[in-house]
């Protein structure tokens, strides 16, 4: 791996930040139905990890998945269109925030089920390797996911079969309202050790630190060293889900939130750029995000007649459910 590209990392964290903020606006405006799980505050993780990957490498995201999708290279405009449920979206408006996928850039999808994606990614990477493709995979998940048996089974399978996967735990301290200490007996890295996987803890608020750790791990993994885990310690700046903007849930002390927000990955990385360079990137990002929103809102809504399009890849057609018998 080459060293970090400070500008590139900044561009990505800034893009995710502004994308999320604009998406929240669109939730408020009723243009994104169902709300989103904002990635605000955690941008450095997706940015740092994906910068360590190649375009042909594979990733899976989470319910809090826009950052992963964008960092891996999906078009922001089509991603925003997907959130708005438009025909022009990545998934033709069929997936929405929690299922945004772009297989053409190696994004096997955000996944709304906590802990479910790890084994899927492991299988996909294994299949590519069997064909001789030199890919690795990175699967993102939260601190809540390390208590899901299905993810722990995936740790075992990947480790046992030495599938080249980087397991990336975004430890933001909470699973919805549940603090890590109330949910995780032992430690997150101890979960990896149990399956003989090396594990590294990194400051998730520092994009370059994440990148350095991920790049080193990916290099070892690609060289055949077997899967690894990275625990990126981070903080969620906003709500678990935008419904919290409407309904107040009381579970994080205000001082904690303030302290968490003080270490902002966008600023940490931005401060590494010359001010004019940073301003330049900000302007580029702003233009990109403006265009993304415009593209999204201009896209047509899908025709209800196609509601069951792609239900079966085989072309099997399902009987409709209406009163037609």
């Amino acid at each position: 791996m080459t060293g970090a590209d400070p500008v590139g990392l900044y561009r990505t964290v800034r893009l995710i930040r502004r994308f999320e903020q604009r998406a929240i606006d669109l939730v408020r405006a009723g243009q994104i139905v169902g709300g989103i799980h904002p990635y605000l505050g955690q941008e450095g993780i997706a940015a740092g990890v994906c910068a360590a990957l190649r375009p042909t490498d594979l990733v899976t995201g989470t319910h809090r998945g826009h950052g992963h999708v964008l960092a891996k290279g999906a078009d922001p405009a089509r991603t925003m269109a997907e959130l708005c449920g438009r025909e022009t979206g990545l998934n033709r408006g069929r997936g929405g925030s929690m299922h945004a996928a772009d297989l053409s850039v190696g994004v096997l999808g955000a996944n709304a089920i906590v802990g479910a994606a790890g084994a899927i990614l492991t299988g996909a990477v294994w299949a590519h390797r069997r064909r001789g493709d030199d890919v690795v995979g990175a699967t993102f998940f939260g601190d809540g996911a390390v208590n899901e048996g299905m993810l722990l089974e995936a740790f075992n399978l990947a480790a046992l079969w030495r599938v080249p996967v980087l397991f990336v735990c975004e430890n933001n301290g909470y699973a919805t309202t549940m603090p890590v200490a109330g949910a995780v007996a032992g430690t997150i890295t101890g979960r990896a050790a149990a399956f003989d996987m090396p594990a590294t803890v990194v400051d998730g608020q520092d994009p370059e630190a994440v990148h350095a750790v991920a790049a080193a791990a990916v290099a070892r993994i690609r060289a055949g060293g077997g899967p690894e885990l990275v625990e990126a310690q981070t903080y969620r700046f906003d709500a678990h889900h935008t419904f919290e903007h409407v309904v107040r849930l009381d579970y994080r002390p205000p001082e904690e939130v303030a302290a968490g927000r003080a270490r902002d990955p966008v600023d940490i990385q931005g401060d590494r750029l010359a001010p004019h360079r940073r301003a330049q990137v900000d302007a580029e990002v702003e233009a990109t995000v403006d265009a993304a929103v415009a593209f999204a809102l201009a896209g047509p809504e899908p025709d209800p007649a196609g509601a069951l399009d792609h239900l079966y890849a085989s072309g099997l057609t399902a009987r409709a459910g209406g009163g037609q018998g």
């Binding site: 169902g34 997907e82 899901e148 299905m150 849930l249 069951l308 459910g321 009163g323």
Partner: protein
């Protein structure tokens, strides 16, 4: 008393927690009450009886089974209907089977509560299932209350019942409010005629009861529609329905699950095994194998709606005998 469906569920939990020390709640974010159902209960009953769990659905579902074997009456809340897929083995292969397999040595009184089942607009494919027919198939008591009074009464009955019970609280019903005089347990397998009529019997499940009533009102004058709410899909009140359908001779079933092997099929078959209908019955359901697409217009298109129900009623009513 003006009662919302949500508050009715909260009230049922509170009343049973107060009444019986062996009742306790288990689930994700139940202390804070992220689902808006368990709000306030932790303050009143303490974190031992309103237990937040790690994201370990399989383990906490089986933990509830074990606690029930030892005499407790756990209520397990699930945040998403499809989490029931994740714990299907734990419910069907263990909780359900223990009494018979042990030759009657034990009971497993667990309630599984799913607030917001079916489509919550915009939550898309993995959050919008309505899998009550799966539980009717495996033979687990399955309630789908339509009204606040029934939400209260069926949840209370579930908690007091000696076998596992799944309670689906459809997203489409959570905002329903009604004036309720008396809160009381509602027995399983006892449906209710929500609106009397002479021409066509419409069986509607859960939130669709309200759609059926609206359609029936709209059609008043043209077709006299009787609306039957089974309240529990397993056991199903066949006698109650037969009383209606033997009068009307015409049957439409409207439910929000997939069509194939759904509850509509079960209801229609149970009827035609016993009664000759005047005209062929109709189903208004989700399509076979439905996956709910994200875009709101697509999501709606996949769900059974008033238009499709109206069309089916017209069709059945017009059909010459």
């Amino acid at each position: 008393m003006r009662l919302s469906y949500r508050r009715a569920l909260t009230r049922a939990l509170a009343d049973e927690l107060a009444r019986d020390e062996s009742v306790f709640l288990l689930g994700e974010d139940v202390r804070v009450g992220a689902s808006m159902i368990t709000s306030g209960l932790c303050r009143r009953f303490g974190p031992e009886r309103v237990r937040d769990t790690p994201l370990s659905e399989q383990a906490f579902t089986s933990f509830a089974t074990g606690a029930a074997l030892a005499g407790m009456r756990p209520v397990v809340e699930f945040q998403i209907p499809s989490l029931l897929f994740l714990v299907f083995e734990q419910i069907v292969n263990h909780a359900h089977k223990f009494p018979l397999m042990t030759g009657g040595q034990c009971a497993v009184p667990v309630t599984y509560l799913v607030p917001g089942s079916g489509s919550r607009t915009g939550w898309a494919g993995q959050h919008s299932d309505h899998p009550y027919p799966l539980f009717a198939h495996v033979g687990i008591v399955t309630a789908v209350p339509a009204t606040p009074a029934d939400a209260y009464g069926l949840l209370v009955s579930a908690i007091r019942h000696d076998d596992p019970v799944v309670v689906f609280a459809p997203a489409g019903a959570l905002d329903v409010r009604e004036d309720v005089e008396r809160l009381a347990p509602v027995p399983f397998g006892r449906g209710v005629v929500r609106r009397a009529g002479d021409d066509v019997t419409v069986v509607a499940v859960g939130h669709l009861v309200h759609d059926a009533l609206a359609v029936a009102d709209e059609l008043a004058g043209q077709v006299s529609v009787e609306v039957f709410d089974p309240r529990t899909v397993y056991p199903f009140d066949l006698d109650g329905l037969l009383a209606s359908v033997t009068r009307t001779g015409r049957l439409v079933v409207c439910d929000d699950a997939n069509r194939s092997c759904g509850i509509a099929a079960e209801i229609i078959t149970s009827v035609v095994e016993r009664v000759r209908l005047a005209v062929p019955p109709r189903r208004v359901t989700r399509p076979d194998g439905a996956v709910l697409p994200f875009a709101p217009g697509l999501d709606r298109a996949v769900q059974p709606g008033r238009e499709a129900l109206t069309a089916a009623i017209h069709h059945v009513a017009k059909d010459p005998t």
